[in-house]
Every structure is written in structure tokens, then in C-alpha cells.
Amino acid sequence: MQKATAKAVKAEPAASPSQNPAQMTGAEIIIRALIDQGVDTIFGYPGGAVLPIYDALFKQNSITHVLVRHEQGAAHAAEGYARSTGKVGVLLVTSGPGATNAVTGLTDALLDSIPIICLTGQVPTHLIGNDAFQEADTTGITRPCTKHNYLVRDVNKLAATIHEAFHVARTGRPGPVLIDLPKDVQFADGTYQPPAVAKQSHYQPQTVPDRAQVERAVELMAASERPIFYTGGGVINAGPRASELLTEFVRLTGFPCTSTLMGLGAYPMSDKLFLGMLGMHGTYEANLAMHGCDVMINIGARFDDRVTGKLSGFSPNSKKIHVDIDPSSINKTVRVDIPVVGDAASTLEMMIAIWRERGYKAKAEPLAKWWQQIAEWQKTDCLKYKQTGGIIKPQYALERLRELTKDKDTYITTEVGQHQMWAAQFLRFEKPNRWMTSGGLGTMGYGLPAAIGVQMAHPDALVVDVAGEASILMNIQEMTTAVQYRLPVKVFILNNQWMGMVRQWQEMLHGARYSQSYSEALPDFVKLAEAFGGVGLRAEKPEDVDRVIAEMMKVTDRPTIIDVCVDAKENCFPMIPSGKNHNEVLLGPGEQAIGNVIKGAGGALV
């Protein structure tokens, strides 16, 4: 015994005598696996079924744990962290209600293709299925709202499962992956395997596209007369290199470029080749160019119904190229002529190479005519508004926010509704990973926790949650989290006292019968901020806006709520009513025959 001990001490001074350093408890394996996966921050909330993991967290210093106030907040914070860094976000929640509260965040991450790992506690394996305290069928509930999920019953498979989960979350089309961890597995002793040793996953999606397809695509582009780039979140998910390549290729061709809500920032928005966002609340020129183009180059977008409008009238005379990493996105709703399965960076790289090798040039004369046509559409100045009188227009507040923050290292998150669309229209994103918004699921309450995730990853940056007064109340409890970690997030509320987008639809579709869309009892947001331990500011007149923005930027050690009292009657334009074509866009209140805009079948659509 004596000898053996001496030997072990020599070999591994830190380890306790005669113990294999790879032997540890399940909870320790979890922490070790997270560290080896490069995790530095996790968002979570403790509970009975995850206490061993929290105990292991207590004994280490590599991972910072951010205590949220609701598990939905943890999921959105992990999303914000992931989207602003390009890394995998991690949340840790308990069994039962902990897991069910995270479901909205998981679904949000699934629809927006955000890589996050959700660790959930579970009742001990022998109690599974017994309706034990805080038991829920977590893998069953989350099967349709995760990219994949696992229930780990064997402590010796724990490390390999966690490594595979990270691989699945970040590979191919990214998405949320959940790992359900019974409490007895967290206590059991097992062997840790580092990522290099763990068995390689068979999940290896194609990222490099088929060259022949790319050649056909580039050939079609070179022959085009009225082309347009239609780019989406796939470019951002493919990493900053993809955005650089996109910028290079757009400038190389001189083609116009538009982007989905999810793709904003992949191409610099202030560039003259950029036509603004497209879709239901996109710019007039972007939507008409989509409608009238002869070749559409879709890179990492998915022909979402918010973009296409009525399918039979969607870009009726174009040949369509669709680059997507997910084969199921291709020909799902819109039939395309040249499908390319691959990630945006590899495909763009190949496209540029082929364009150069073959000495292609855009057809100068037709392209110039196309740009003239676009310039005509741009003259409509579809985002115009009038800041007159003593009431702040929401657009004005956002324009001032844009102007006064343009030299700062700025990240924007949003809630969901009119303010979100105005933010997409009036703010400018010149770089990827700067814009975090709930696009696919449209989750009110996303913005504040997402901003917390962003600020944790970028402590010195300016992080602003552009919010509505209704959305913000859905996760307002996260103010306490921001206070606890001294995070100077700015909650910039465009307060019109209405659920603005609901009100806008009721006005156009339901005879202005504003059923339940007015918040009769709103809190005093300034006092609310102060009650939480943050700073509260209010702008009531246009001349207040610059002052409150300047003041909010002075706060560096706690959250700020900026209550901007805006025009309650303002609607978000342009708008393509549901069920209409891109060329049937409504430009402003002058054009709408209220209550009559959407007739017949269109009214049944979302």
C-alpha cells in the first residue's frame, strides 16, 4: 500500500492516492465536459434534481453561472450569448417545471437555428414514469422542439453524450439539443472521456456543395439581367467568414442584395448595393426587386411565409438558386431551379472562385437598367414618416438611437411586434452577430434575457433591448438578473400603451375592434426600474429623446429602462397584407382602406 501510494503521488500529485483521475461523479463529468467544450458561461436556475451539478459548480472556477429568474430567461440568454459569439450557449435547469419553462426558449432556438445545449435535471432513473415530484417526460415534451435530445441513464455514457450533443448543436443547421440527467446518474461514479477519445458521431452533414451545381448557379448568375441576392440567417450561422465572402461576392457582381430579418448584418446595411430588409414589413424596393427579378440567389434563407407572401404570386418570372445546409429547406414551399446543399461560407467561396476563374462579368447594360428601375422604387422613400408636433414618433426615437450609438460597439436585441419591425427598418447593422431577434417563433419576452446573454459575452459593449411595453412585461423579472451581475443593458421601450402589432391587425382586419389589445394598467417603468435597482428614464417629447439616450449611455454598472412615450396611433409600413403579393404592398396610412384591406381567404391567414 505504502509503495503504491508513493507511486501515484509521483505520477499525479493533485489526484488522491490510488485513484484514476478520469474517475469522478456524474456531476463532475458534466462540468468537466462543459469545460472541455470551451464553455465559460452558463445560464441556469437550481432545483432538487440538479443539486449535485450545482454542488460541482460550486467547487470550480472555470465556468461562470448566471442565475436567471425564470428558466425561459435562461434559454433566451443562452440564445443571446450564442448569437452574439457564434459559440454554443448553455442553460442548466431542474426537472419538471424547470424543463417545461425552458420549452419556449428551445422552440425559439429551433426555429431560428441557434445552437444551445439545455441540461435538465430528472428524477432518479428508478422513479422515472412514477409521477414523482417534479417529474415531467422531458425528452417526450421536447422531442418536437429540439434538434435532438438525450436521456442519459448510464454515467459511463455521460461524457460521450455531452460531447456528441455539442457536435449536433453546432454542426449542419444549428439548433437546440437537450440532455436529460437523472439525479442518480449525477451522483454515480463513472469514467470521464475527453472529446478526442469519445466516439465520433455519425452525424456529419454535407457542408461542401456539389461543384457541378455551383457551376450551374454561377453560370445562371452571369447570364442574368435583373438579379438579386436574397440572404438569410444561414449566412450568419456559417460564421463571420461567410459574411465577408457574401460582401465580396455582392460587390464583385454589382448585384443588388436584400436580407431577411434573420440575416441583417451579414451584408453591411449602409452599403449602396443593399436594398434593406424584404418581406411583410420590408422595403418597397427590396420587395419589388424580388417580384421583378429574373434570377434570385437565395443564400441561407428559407422562403418563410413572412417573406414570400402569397406563394403563387411570389417572384413569378425568376429562376431561383437556393443554397442551404438543410436539404429539407429546399423545395419545401418554393420550387427552385438550382438547389445547392452546402454551408454558406463554403458555397460562396466556391462561387467566387468559379466567377473569377471563368472571367464572368455581370451584363452591364441590363444591370444598369435594373438599377435604374430600383432607383425609381427607392424614390418612393417607403420608410418616410413625419416627426411633427409634440408626440414622439417611434421611428424618430430609433433614428436618434441609431445616430447617437453609431460609433459605439453596439448589440441590439428586440422583443416582438411593431417595435421589432421598426428596429429592423431604422437601425443599421454593418456586421454579423449584432442583431438578436426572435424571428421564426416571434417570442415576446425574448429581448431582455437575450440582452443579458449578449452582455455577459461582451461586458464592455453597448447592449440595447429595443422593446415594447407589452413584450417587456413577459420577462421583466430578468431585470433582477441584470442588477445582480451589474450588467448595463438598456431596455429601450417604445411605449404606445397598446400591443401595437395586434392593434394594427385589428384596425386593418377586424373593423378597428380593439379586442384586448390595450393594456389598461401599465406600471410606471421609471419607478419599476428603480425598484429593481436599475435606472429609469423617460422621454415624453421629441426633444427629450437625445437626452435620455445620452443619459442611458452614462450608466455602466446596472440596467436602465428608457420609457419612450410614442405615438399610440402609428402603424408599421410598408406592409404586405397576408395573402398578398410583393407588388401589392401598402405604403402608408393614406393608402389603406381601413377594415377593407384584407378580404376573403387572406383574413384567415396569420
Binding site: T139, G140, R143, P144, K147, H148, L151, V168, G172, H202, Y203, Q204, P205, Q206, D305, T308, G309, K310, L311, S312, D326, P327, S328, I330, N331, K332, T333, R335, V341, S578, G579, A601, L605, V606
Partner: protein, 192 residues
């Protein structure tokens, strides 16, 4: 749930192409929840399942083979294949109907409860249609039949007038003709 026969758009009603019956063979890792993933995909996305059979076909690698008969217009069927391919434990998806010639059959047990004459008539039908007698009692007779689906339908229809019936059937299993083998991708990678 009503089958999704449209083109997947929330803005279009009706269908562009006529739905067609397709037989898919799917190789999956036999792990807990895999069947729920496949079935949940079909119900969640509004696809139609006419029949589904599954069993482990390789005990060493724990691979199961699922045969799914579904129907829909070609665009939806392609979408079903792509969506199946996206599931992590799904290793291979082949559309046998599109791929070429294949054989398809199912197993049925059919019990008839009836008097002597009825059971005698049933025996003659069984002989004609190629069903085996696997169990008899004083009042019942049970047949086993391994055949194409429409032959089993024919058998059931023929027996129905002769007594009370109980039917248990497996749904289709199918295999491609020729040297095509559904196996783990070796050199070629799964594209989902």
C-alpha cells in the same frame, strides 16, 4: 389528423399534384424514442401514414429497419424523405417506389367464428387465396397469410359473409429487387 396534401404553404389551398402511394425504407439506430421521433415527425407536420412496421435487423450494430407507406404529391414525399433524413438516429432513407422495382407484403392473422358450414366455406376460400390454417377450435378457425396488401384485403372481403372476423395485420414490409442493399453509408455520407 387530416393528411397534408398541399405544397406546404400557409397561403395556398388545394393541391398541385395528385397524391401517390409511396413505400419508404428507413434504417435507424435502435435507441429509445426513435420510433416516437419518426411518428412525431409525421403527426407534427401533418403527413399521412398508411402503415408502419419496424424491427431490429442487425443486433450487433443495433440497427432497425422501418417500412413506412405514405401518400402525397411528389413534392411532399420528397419533403418527408428530407425531414426523415434530418433526424439524428436516422441513418438512411430510401424511397422504394421511386428507386425502382421492389417486393412488398404483409402478414395477417384472420380468425373466423362460425358454424361448421361457415368454417368449411372459409377453408375453401383460404385454399384458393393461399392462406394457411394455424389454429382451430370447435367454433373457430384461424388463418395466416403472407401476401401483398390487396390480396389480404381480398381474403378478408371473401371471408366476411361467413362469420364474425377478427383481423391482425402487420402493415407492409418491402425490399428492393436486385443488388441494391439498404445499409449504413460507407464511403458516401448522409446528406442530412
Amino acid at each position: 389528423m387530416s393528411p397534408n396534401t398541399g405544397n406546404g404553404s400557409v397561403y395556398e389551398e388545394g393541391t398541385v399534384e395528385a397524391p401517390k402511394r409511396n413505400c419508404l425504407a428507413v434504417l435507424v439506430d435502435n435507441e429509445p424514442g426513435v420510433l416516437a421521433r419518426v411518428v412525431g415527425l409525421f403527426s407534427g407536420r401533418g403527413y399521412n401514414i398508411e402503415s408502419l412496421t419496424v424491427d431490429e435487423v442487425d443486433h450487433k450494430t443495433h440497427l432497425s429497419r422501418i417500412t413506412i407507406v405514405t401518400s402525397g404529391p411528389p413534392m411532399i414525399i420528397k419533403q418527408i424523405e428530407a425531414q426523415l433524413g434530418r433526424l439524428i438516429p436516422v441513418r438512411q432513407v430510401v424511397n422504394l417506389t421511386v428507386q425502382g422495382k421492389f417486393v412488398e407484403g404483409c402478414l395477417a392473422y384472420i380468425k373466423l367464428i362460425g358454424n361448421f358450414d361457415q368454417r368449411d366455406a372459409a377453408k375453401q376460400i383460404a385454399r384458393r387465396l393461399g392462406a394457411r390454417i394455424v389454429d382451430t377450435t370447435d367454433t373457430t378457425i384461424m388463418f395466416e397469410m403472407t401476401e401483398a396488401t390487396h390480396k389480404i384485403e381480398e381474403m378478408i372481403d371473401a371471408l366476411r359473409p361467413h362469420g364474425k372476423l377478427e383481423v391482425a395485420r402487420t402493415g407492409s414490409v418491402a425490399m428492393a429487387s436486385g443488388e441494391a442493399v439498404l445499409e449504413l453509408p460507407g464511403a458516401e455520407r448522409k446528406t442530412a
